[in-house]
Structures are given as C-alpha cells and as structure tokens.
C-alpha cells in the first residue's frame, strides 16, 4: 500500500474524508439555501427559473455540482466504513448507559440522523433534480428566451401536506446533524485554537438553526401562499 492509500484507510484518514466532504456539503448548503431564497420573490417564479437554468448549464457550476455528488457519496461510504469499525470496536454493549450525562444526543446519533437525511435526499432529488434534468417539464418564455418551468413543479409538489410536513421534519434532522457536524469537522481537521474554537462552535450552532429554518420556510411559504 502506498502512503496515500494507507493514510486514507486509517481511522484518522477516514475521519479526514468525513470532515472535508462534510465541510464541502456545508458550503453547498449555503449556496443552495441562498439561491432558493428566490422562491420568496413573489414574481411567479421568473427569477427562480432563470437561476435554475443557470445552475444546470453554467460550466463552473457543473464542476461544483460534480464535487457535491462526490462529497455526498464519499460522506456516505466513509460513514459506513467508520460505523462498521466503531461497531466492531465494542462487540458486547453495556447493560446501563449514562451517555446522556456526558455528550449531546446529536453527537451520539450522527449515523441515524445522516441516514434519515440520506432518505430525504433521495426523495428530494427525485422530485426536483431529476425532473429538472430529465423530466418532462413545461416551458416558459421570458424576454424571448425559453426556460424550463421548475417553479411550477416546486409549487405543485408543495400543495401536498405530506410533502410539506416531510420537508419540515427532514430539516429538523438536518439541523441536529449540523449542530454537531459543523464544529466537529474543524476539530477533526485539527483546527482547534483558544481564539477561534469558541467562535466556530457558536457559528456552527447558528448555522444549524438558521439554514434548516430557511429551507423549511420554503415549502411552508408556497403551501400557504398558492
């Protein structure tokens, strides 16, 4: 084994991949939530549809989107690899657990939270991402240029109470996952410093609240306004 593969198959190497892919996905979420704020514009979806076309055709965005797919897949695969190692590290469990007194619920259940988010992600991609790329979408014309009307698909999907409820609940799980994952990624990278660690922790908590709330407001806004 070369030193690279040896490092990346060590426990710390695997944690490094979890941290880097996780941080990249946080960057992705920041972009995703910012762009989708256009749903609140109230212009019948014009800005959103133009944005959607840009996001699926711009070459720079294409590179970023491939990095995002790789990050999601990498994050999942390495979570499974680490999870299996962690399970085998304690074949016989304890009869009693005092874990609630020494750690947070989210930190102990990152795997479960992540699995729920992954299930949500599959449904979410099927509903919008797949439709945008390969679905049979209606077209709209703004200033003589044709655009896929993704906005109509989004507004149609969020007429359904179950869909709205599912999205809001999924965002709660995302919030808990981020509440631990954000600061944890920095710790794994070894970025721990008296000056910056408290700020990273605070930023992580804020991020874990603000971003999922903004996401959850989108289906709620559409449901109650259309």
């Amino acid at each position: 084994m070369s030193w690279v593969t040896k490092t990346l198959s060590s426990t710390l190497g695997r944690k490094l991949i979890m941290a880097l892919t996780g941080l990249f996905l946080i960057l992705f979420l920041t972009g995703h939530v910012s762009g989708n704020l256009l749903l609140f514009k109230g212009d019948g979806g014009q800005a959103f549809n133009i944005y959607a076309k840009f996001m699926t055709t711009n070459p720079a965005v294409k590179i970023l989107s491939y990095l995002t797919y790789i990050s999601v897949i990498g994050h999942v695969i390495y979570a499974i690899l680490l999870g299996r190692k962690n399970k085998s590290a304690r074949p016989i469990g304890y009869a009693e657990s005092g874990a609630s007194t020494n750690s947070t619920m989210a930190s102990r259940n990152m795997g479960i939270l992540g699995t729920i988010i992954l299930i949500f992600l599959v449904v979410h991609l099927q509903s919008f991402w797949y439709q945008m790329h390969w679905g049979d979408l209606p077209f709209v014309t703004y200033d003589g240029e044709e655009y896929k009307d993704l906005f109509s698909i989004v507004t149609f999907a969020f007429q359904n109470e179950l869909m709205v409820a599912g999205y809001v609940i999924a965002m709660i799980f995302l919030g808990f996952h981020l509440s631990h994952g954000f600061a944890s990624a920095f710790q794994t990278l070894g970025l721990n410093h008296k000056k910056y660690t408290p700020a990273i922790a605070t930023l992580g908590k804020l991020y874990a609240v603000i971003v999922p709330i903004l996401f959850a407001l989108m289906p709620l806004y559409i449901y109650f306004t259309s």
């Binding site: 962690n86 304690r90 750690s103 710790q187 990278l189 070894g190 970025l191």
Partner: protein
C-alpha cells in the same frame, strides 16, 4: 447503608458471563467503592464462594489500575477514579450495576478485570524518547515556556486507565493516544521522533481494533484526570502533517 450489587461475573475470556445480584448490608458512607467491594469479597470468601475479581493497585487515584463501569459511567458518578469514589455518592437502598470496560481491544480476563495491554502496545509503538537524557539537568537549562510546559504536563497526567475507551460510544482510544502523543510533541526532547511517533502510535491504535472519534466529548467528560479534547485536535494535526512530510513512503 443497605445496597444491592448487580455484578458482572465471568469465569474467563471464553465464558459468556452474566450478572449476579448480591445484597450487602452495613456499608459505611465513608468507605471507598473498592473497600465496599472488599466487604463483599470477604463475605463471599467466608461462604466459600469465588470472590469478585477487580483491578486495583495504589488506591490513591494515581496509578490508573482501577476500572469498573458503575451505573452506566466509567469510574461511577464522580469524575474521579473508582478508588477515589466514596459510598456517600450513593443512597441507602440503591442498586448498583457494575460492569467491566467494554471494548474489543480490552478483552475480559475474569469478572471485572480487563486486559489493557493494547494501551501498552500503543506506547511501545512510539510513546517514548530515545535521546540520551543523561543526569539530572540544571533548572532552566532547556528553555521551555511555562504555558507549554503546563500543557504538556496536563497531557502527561493521563494515567492510562481506559475510562475514555469505556465511555466512548465507539470504544475509541483517541483521547489516550492523543495525550501520549501531545506530552512529547510539545517538548524539545520529543522532537527527534515526532513524526515517526504520530504515525506509529496511530497505526498501532488502529491495529488494536479501537473505534474512531465522533467528537462527542464523552471521553473528556468522564476522564478522571480531565484530559482535554484539544489533545485530539493536536494529534490529528501531528498525524496529518507527519504523513505529508515524513520520509515513510
């Protein structure tokens, strides 16, 4: 005090093991937890039964020999070693569950005794300095800032009891290994083998079958010496910079 002890009994490593309940009376609140177990063992011995086996040595909280997972927590409800835990931390009529450390890398020898030789092998892999230290040096001969010396000393207070592994949901040994890497990485004497140490100790930690770190912080919260999580971040930095810059291809 009147107590009921639910104790893990296991004849040897091949035995499946299980809990046995023992009623115990006349326990003083001034007794240490281990003295309470001594009382139980005297009763068992008088009855001709096999006493409960548990590890202990100095009983002063400095050797790291005692263990025991008491009521769901390593070393019990106080952040100290089991030998420094006193019966005043419990109430009359309590049922106390006592289990051994649970980790693949800490196989049960008998009852509550586990084999922690995996920690020794991590140390043997690189937790030493091989510079000739000579006789006692003069004070301040090697200038080390007080803050660095303090931090290295804090890491060095790790007694290797294994409570971090016992507390961790992944049975990870990262707090222990990071403390042992940190105490040498911060001092001039530790520079010679600095990169090699990080690589070898972490390889050994993996080979022993310990889990990964999820940064839950349970280890540090339960550590009788309060070893900080900053050591784990430092270990990660040491490891990543070592693999990137060492000569080991």
């Amino acid at each position: 005090m009147k107590l009921t002890l639910k104790v893990w009994r296991q004849k040897n490593n091949a035995d499946k093991g299980g809990f046995v309940s023992y009623p115990l009376d006349g326990i003083s609140t001034d007794m240490s937890f281990l003295e309470m177990l001594d009382v139980l063992n005297e009763e068992l011995t008088e009855k001709g039964e096999d006493p409960v086996h548990f590890d202990h040595d100095c009983r002063e909280g400095i050797c790291g020999m005692c263990s025991l997972y008491i009521n769901g927590k390593p070393h019990g409800p106080q952040q100290t070693t089991t030998c420094q835990l006193h019966m005043r931390s419990f109430k009359d009529g309590d049922t106390i569950t006592i289990e051994p450390w649970r980790a693949a890398a800490f196989p049960v020898v008998k009852d509550l005794v586990v084999d922690r030789a995996s920690f020794d092998r991590i140390i043997q892999a690189g937790g030493y300095v091989s510079v000739n230290t000579g006789g006692v040096p003069d004070a301040n001969e090697i200038p080390i800032p007080k803050t660095i010396a303090d931090e290295a000393f804090d890491a060095a207070t790790c007694i290797g009891c294994g409570a971090c592994v016992a507390a961790c949901k992944n049975a990870s040994a990262m707090l222990f290994t990071s403390a042992k890497i940190s105490q040498l990485a911060m001092l001039p004497q530790g520079q010679v083998e600095r990169k090699e140490r990080a690589e070898k100790m972490i390889a050994q930690m993996d080979a022993e079958g310990f889990g990964a770190c999820t940064n839950t912080g349970a280890c540090s919260a339960e550590c009788p010496k309060g070893i900080s999580l900053t050591n784990i971040a430092r270990m990660n930095r040491e490891y990543f910079s070592a693999v990137l810059s060492s000569e080991n291809v």
